[in-house]
Subunit: 273 residues, 2 copies
């Protein structure tokens, strides 16, 4: 059966890359703070980095801040990725970084928004409202979800690191276990920050087969080799590395993306040897 | 100092109501599933119920599902509430039910989206990413946040009810305690479903002074009197009751809202006696 992750694995094979290019038009990065500016910024990034991108990850916040025109720019950015996919003859998945989470009928409306109105292939979600808030996004196996598990910000300690019950297991490990249970169609993965390899190792042990989206390498200071060693599955797959500013702020984003892809390949090669 | 909750308390005094009218244009409630249909549905509701509404609560999902035109409709709905406020000479706060939650610079973009681009006065947020994901929404004391604490859906048990440490306190009580710590400007409250009065009582005990937004009375089957007894503060304030379908699906939404207001007043009167 074709699922979101079989699409993603095919794309990774086609471009030999685990790099996910973040499309985050921060106001400070735009010549003019407008939806038009955000659109130009992202179209340039998509065009230059598409050959080296396993996936693209636009963050909804940076488009929403410009109101309705921003929302339209987001749709056009996703459409532009579709055009690159057709040119390359290889589907490049778009992961909408939206961190949504609401109850059943509202979750259905968010799923329509992400997958139909915008045309994204996957979405990031918060786990706080539990299974019925995630399920409407999983119904179509060709669409995927990355569930927030352990994030790389200081506030991760407030809830995610709290210890449960007598065993003293942190909440984020409970989330990883729940995600395994909920992943009945091979289209649910986890978000685990790359800045703490020990946490990544613990999540990988708790969920050996799940895909992990691991932000934090590059601008946030995460160590690439440590992330790969801690996060890759036994089959050498299962890890996607989103990078935003380290690519978008480079003089030549295409060159920066190509170099990052090659650096990942080189570490993977060493790990096999 | 004027804060979101001093505005809300003034409005509640002006209209003698704890009712928060939900603006949820479900596709099944619209003659035609479009942004235009959602706008008409909401403008009608706002116009008919404004005299009895302590606040309005549009849910972002039901607008986002229509793409950019939906987002523009949401902005116009919030603008229409502003017009009703001017007519009545009493500010009716708009709580954007968006359940967002992202890290620092992204949270700032979401705050700009809600408070500036859309013009809402408060927003609902998820607590999973911790304090630094909430703080950017609290900087301006005139803008408010309701943090998800204990929701009324079945999935609430998956994370929110998990027991922490040796004391065995549920996660949602830890969230209530964190919210007290984070509420340094009198603009942070909690979302607690009205369907479980025992949980509401426990949250009220853990956070005696915080405002609670308590969905679930009406269509979701929560008992109004039980919710009021469990959720009101010692001063008889501190509880806001959102209702959506029980108002919007009534033959006359204005009459339904007026009756609900009066029913709440009557129970409050009995409680005092």
């Amino acid at each position: 059966m074709e699922t979101f992750f079989t699409f993603l694995e095919k794309r990774i094979a086609d471009c030999s890359s685990l790099l996910c290019v973040g499309l985050d038009p921060h106001v400070s990065d735009l010549p003019a703070p407008s939806a038009e500016g955000a659109l130009r910024f992202c179209l340039h990034l998509v065009k230059r980095t598409a050959p080296y991108a396993a996936a693209f990850k636009p963050n909804a916040a940076f488009f929403e801040q410009f109101g309705a025109p921003g929302w339209e720019a987001l749709r056009q950015v996703i459409e532009a990725v579709g055009e690159q996919s057709r040119r390359q003859g290889s589907l490049i998945p778009v992961i909408l970084d939206a961190k949504r989470g609401d109850i059943a009928s509202t979750a259905e409306a968010y799923a329509r928004s992400a997958f139909q109105a915008l045309g994204a292939h996957a979405i990031t979600l918060s786990p706080y409202l539990g299974r019925d808030s995630v399920e409407p996004f999983l119904v179509d196996p060709e669409k995927g979800v990355f569930l927030l598990c352990k994030t790389s910000n200081p506030g991760a300690r407030d809830l995610q690191d709290l210890l449960l019950g007598e065993a003293g297991e942190p909440l984020y490990i409970a989330v990883a276990r729940l995600a395994r249970l909920w992943n009945t169609r091979n289209n649910l993965g986890l978000v685990v920050g790359a800045t703490q390899p020990e946490a990544m190792t613990a999540v990988r042990a708790a969920a050996p087969e799940l895909w992990i989206l691991a932000p934090g390498v590059g601008a946030q200071g995460g160590d690439l080799e440590a992330a790969l060693r801690a996060g890759l599955r036994a089959d050498g797959k299962g890890l996607l590395l989103p990078m935003s500013r380290s690519i978008s702020r480079a003089a030549d984003p295409g060159k920066a993306a190509a170099e990052m892809r090659d650096q990942i390949i080189s570490i993977q090669y060493q790990m096999k040897g």
